[in-house]
Each structure stands twice: as structure tokens, then as C-alpha cells.
């Protein structure tokens, strides 16, 4: 536990030193300008547009932060030879993987709190009502990002930084499109497509589940059961990715 904590804290501090939170400034600037420029264009739908753009931006900036922190986090340990410091000690590869993940997860948690607060602030300033469904949406966004973070760690375990960044971005895009993809495939009605849907359903991350807008826009929110399923899915999917990452690192040679 102490090992995990030490590793996670180190990853977190490194991310801070990499100025990851500048991205948050970018988010703030984007959000404020969007609410000032875009919302007035949507006559009568200002709140809807602000929320819509805000939540989408939170998801997107979350993805950017994940890529920014994740793409080189294992490569750099090898490149800088700091792995010697870690692996000459009683550290399991799983410690390393989970330490990296927890560090990244805490960066994302802090970012989400900040971004969520900014969104609420913008809504309040504009005089729009704020209800609990926004908090629900933020919690879901967090678990969606946990899935992405676990994927990022897995990818970082076996590729170079540039490729890792691109693959993580691809996972984000595919993950958000996977719902639509399944819907399209099912509509073709062929048995082959159905089988494909079932297989892909197990493999592709269903990130679209974590960025649904409707329950927030109409204020209906999610039921505890719906939330529960989303959280459970995130835990299982993320856990599987991290286990796989551990296996990859165990098999990998470090020539340093």
C-alpha cells in the first residue's frame, strides 16, 4: 500500500511539473468564450448549449490530459533509467502499473473537480439553474475517464510515446462512436453483424455511456441502477486493462 501510494504520488507530482494544469486554463478559456459566443446564437436554448458544450469540453479536455500525462509515462521511466531505482526494490510490475494509474487518476479527479466547478460557475453567472444531474454527469465523466486512463496505461506499456498518444486518442474516438457503431451494425440485420456486435461489445470501450447529454439537459438524471452499472463496467473494463498492462510489463524486457 505504501509502495502504491509513493508511486502514485510521484506520478502525480511529475504531471504537475509537466504543467498539465495549463490544459485546465485552456478549458476555462474555451468554456467562457463558448458560453459568451455560442450560447447567444441558440435563441431560447442558451442553457442547453452551454451545458452541452461544457460537458463535451470536459470529456475532451479529460482525454487530452490523459494523453498528455499518459503517453510517455512508462517510456520516460525507461529512457531516464529511473526504472532501475524502482525495479531494484521489492516492487511488483502490478505495483508499478497501478501506481501509474492511480497517479493519472488523481490528476484527472482534480481536473474534473476544477472543470466541473468552472462549468457550474459559468451556468450560475448566466443565471441558469444548476441541479444534481450535473453532478451525476461529472461522476460518470470521471468513470469514463478512468476507463480511458486504464487504456492509456496499457498502451503506454508497450509502445513509444507518439504512438501511445495516437492510440489513446483513437480509443477515445472509437469508444465514443462504439454505441453508434453497434446501432448501425444491428440495423443491417445480418447474423454475421450480430456476432460482430457481440464480440466488439466485449472489446471496445463503451465510452459513449459516460457522456450522454440527455439526462442532464432535461434534468431527469440517472437512476442509481444506471449509475451502478456504469461504475461497475468502468471498474471491470479498467481493471482488465490494468491486468493486461501488468502482464505486458512482466513479459517485456527492459534493456534501458
Amino acid at each position: 500500500m505504501r509502495i502504491l501510494w509513493a508511486l502514485a504520488r510521484n506520478t502525480f507530482v511529475e504531471a504537475l511539473r509537466d504543467k498539465v494544469f495549463y490544459l485546465l486554463l485552456g478549458f476555462g478559456a474555451f468554456l467562457f468564450s463558448a458560453s459568451r459566443l455560442l450560447a447567444p446564437l441558440a435563441l431560447g436554448e442558451e442553457r442547453r448549449v452551454t451545458l452541452d458544450v461544457g460537458l463535451a469540453a470536459i470529456s475532451l479536455f479529460g482525454c487530452l490530459i490523459t494523453i498528455f500525462v499518459g503517453h510517455q509515462m512508462i517510456f520516460r521511466e525507461v529512457e531516464r533509467k529511473t526504472l532501475y531505482f524502482l525495479f531494484s526494490r521489492p516492487i511488483h510490475r502490478a505495483h508499478f502499473v497501478w501506481g501509474k494509474f492511480c497517479g493519472l487518476a488523481s490528476v484527472l479527479a482534480v481536473s474534473l473537480v476544477v472543470m466541473g466547478a468552472l462549468l457550474v460557475l459559468v451556468l450560475k453567472i448566466s443565471g441558469y439553474p444548476v441541479d444534481a444531474s450535473i453532478v451525476q454527469a461529472l461522476v460518470l465523466a470521471f468513470f469514463g475517464l478512468m476507463i480511458l486512463a486504464a487504456i492509456a496505461v496499457l498502451i503506454a506499456a508497450f509502445t513509444t510515446p507518439v504512438l501511445a498518444g495516437l492510440l489513446t486518442l483513437a480509443a477515445y474516438v472509437v469508444g465514443h462512436g462504439s454505441g453508434d457503431l453497434f446501432w448501425l451494425l444491428e440495423r443491417t440485420g445480418s447474423p454475421g453483424a450480430a456476432a460482430l456486435v457481440r464480440t466488439l461489445g466485449w472489446i471496445l470501450p463503451r465510452l459513449d455511456l459516460y457522456s450522454e447529454m440527455l439526462p442532464v439537459l432535461d434534468g431527469s438524471g440517472w437512476t442509481p441502477i444506471q449509475m451502478g452499472w456504469c461504475v461497475l463496467y468502468a471498474l471491470l473494463y479498467g481493471g482488465a486493462c490494468l491486468c493486461l498492462a501488468t502482464v505486458v510489463l512482466q513479459r517485456r524486457e527492459f534493456t534501458l
Binding site: 509502495i3 509513493a6 508511486l7 507530482v13 533509467k81 525495479f87 531494484s88 526494490r89 521489492p90 534493456t255
Partner: protein, 310 residues
């Protein structure tokens, strides 16, 4: 006999990429380090010393052979609690200060934090300034010693040090060597690689020479030195002239400032004895007897040359 390091027939070939040349770094290496001894692991650049250490840490897979570290198979996690490792060209997280590196090291090795002890350790190694300075701003020699400190904080039974003296000034070498001597005196086991033989003289108990991926030579350091008596020089005065030593093979007589010197080149032990007796019988007064040895470095350069010729 308990071995803390035991490698047997280790083979390792680097396969860098599809179209790149393979490098056979270890070719049947057998290496044993006993508990409590200090083992000097020598070899020219590229001999495979660092590769051996990576194998011991479980960072590389081997192609053949078996190995144990601290009594457990290679790659065992828990025994590394009892291991201290100094990599060649050590590097730490640039944003941490020296003191933070040691704290991190303690956390990872599962020993309680002790900032005061860490500071004492830095002082002892002559790098008090490193405690509060970020790793990024440390000089090479300072960083090297932070590296040594981080592998001592958890008081490991076994120290594996890859060129511990590299980049150190003479004073720092002295400090580090003193510390390593004390580690050995405290019963710790040391395995250290080096090129600079002067650094390990009077420190190592045994030396092994790695050449083309296996041990070309392994001997007790004192035996190696003793078997390499280059010259014994006897000084004295009295009625001894050149003729007295003329029939002793390898002996030569020279007049000195006060009295004379007789030197024996590469003598067998009994030869020295015989020579001294002869001189005394001839009425000489012996003032001194000095044994001149090749240092390890000369011995090894010799052996390496011979290896290459063979």
C-alpha cells in the same frame, strides 16, 4: 557455503530489432558470490558486466542458464528488500531533492523514514548539499553518491554496484571506499564492477574477470597479488660483493648510497630464503627487505593480452 549471487551457464543475446545485428553479451557465465565477501567484477568495456546485473535484477530474460539472487530464483520480488543496487550512470527523478530521493527509496523498500539518518549519510559521503538540491542540479559526482546513498538506506545484505567510483574525485573515492569497507566489515556482501583496479585494491576479497561473456579468470585478490611478486629487494651492508650473488638465478647486486642492494626478479619463495641466508653467511647486515608487486591492473592487462593472443 551460502551464495547470495549464483549464476550458472547464463546466456544472453541481445536482439535489438528485425534487421539489426545480434549481440551475444553473455556466453555461459557462471558466477558465485559468497555471503560476506566482496567480489570485484572486472572486464573491459562491453564485456557484459552491466548485462549481468540486469539479468540479476530480472530486467532481462536469459536464453539459457539458471540463477539465484539472495537464495531465490531470479525475478523474485520480495528478496529485493535485501538488495541495494547502484546502476552505472544513475538517474533519479529530476524534480526530487536528494533527501526526497532517499525518502522515496525508503517508502519503496518498506523501511521507516528517517530524515536525520539520511542527512548523516549524505554528509558522510561528502554531499551534504545534495539533501536540499534537486537532482537536476547535481553534478555527476554528486549524483553518483546520491546513487550510493539510495542503495544503502534500507541496510541491504547484498550490494550490487555498477562502477561505484566512476566520475568521483580522489577525495570522494576515498569516502566511498571507506564506506564500502565498513559495509564489508559489517558483514554485507558486495558485488562491484569496475575498470579502475586501484579502486578495488584493499577492498575486494575475490576478483573475476569477464571476457567475451564468461569468466576468464577468478581468484582471491591476495593470492593473485602474492603470486605476482615482481621483485624482492634486499638492502644491507657488509662484506658482500657481486660474486656472492653471481650464482643465484635472477639475482643482481648493486652498490647503493650506504651499502648495497640485491634484487631478485620473480623469485620463488624459497629462493628469497636461500638468498638471504647466503648473504648473512657472507657476513652481511640486512637492513630491509621489500617486495614489489604488480598491481591488479598490470596483472589483468597482462592476462587480457594473453587471452587475446590465444
Amino acid at each position: 557455503m551460502e551464495y547470495l549471487v549464483a549464476l550458472e551457464g547464463i546466456e544472453k543475446t541481445y536482439r535489438p530489432g528485425l534487421f539489426q545485428k545480434r549481440v551475444r553479451a553473455l556466453d555461459g557465465l557462471t558466477l558465485r558470490v559468497e555471503r560476506g565477501e566482496c567480489y570485484g567484477f572486472l572486464g573491459v568495456n562491453g564485456a557484459g558486466k552491466t548485462t549481468t546485473f540486469k539479468v540479476l535484477l530480472g530486467l532481462l530474460r536469459t536464453d539459457a542458464g539458471r540463477g539465484e539472487l539472495l537464495g531465490a530464483p531470479l525475478g523474485n520480488r520480495t528478496v529485493r528488500r535485501r538488495l541495494g543496487f547502484l546502476p552505472e550512470l544513475p538517474a533519479y527523478y529530476p524534480h526530487l531533492t536528494g533527501a526526497e530521493v532517499l525518502r522515496f527509496a525508503r517508502d519503496l523498500s518498506g523501511v521507516p523514514r528517517d530524515d536525520a539518518a539520511d542527512r548523516r549519510l549524505f554528509e558522510e559521503l561528502g554531499i551534504g548539499v545534495a539533501a536540499d538540491r534537486r537532482v537536476r542540479r547535481l553534478s555527476k559526482g554528486q549524483l553518483q553518491r546520491v546513487g550510493l546513498a539510495q542503495c544503502l538506506v534500507h541496510e541491504p545484505e547484498l550490494l550490487i554496484l555498477d562502477e561505484p567510483m566512476s566520475g568521483l574525485d580522489p577525495i570522494a573515492r576515498g569516502l566511498v571506499k571507506d564506506r564500502l569497507r565498513r559495509e564489508r566489515a559489517a558483514g554485507r556482501t558486495l558485488l562491484l564492477s569496475t575498470h579502475v583496479l586501484a579502486d578495488v585494491e584493499n577492498l575486494v576479497d575475490r576478483v573475476g574477470l569477464l571476457a567475451s561473456g564468461k569468466l576468464a579468470l577468478e581468484e582471491r585478490a591476495d593470492a593473485l597479488l602474492a603470486s605476482n611478486t615482481r621483485e624482492v629487494v634486499i638492502t644491507g651492508e657488509g662484506a658482500v660483493s657481486e660474486e656472492v650473488v653471481a650464482d643465484i638465478p635472477g639475482a643482481s647486486w648493486r652498490a647503493g648510497t650506504a651499502g648495497w642492494t640485491v634484487s631478485l626478479e620473480h623469485p620463488a619463495p624459497l629462493q628469497v630464503d636461500a638468498c638471504v641466508r647466503r648473504l648473512v653467511r657472507a657476513g652481511a647486515t640486512i637492513h630491509g627487505l621489500e617486495t614489489r608487486r604488480d598491481d591488479l591492473e598490470t596483472i589483468f592487462i597482462d592476462r587480457i593480452r594473453r587471452e587475446e593472443q590465444a
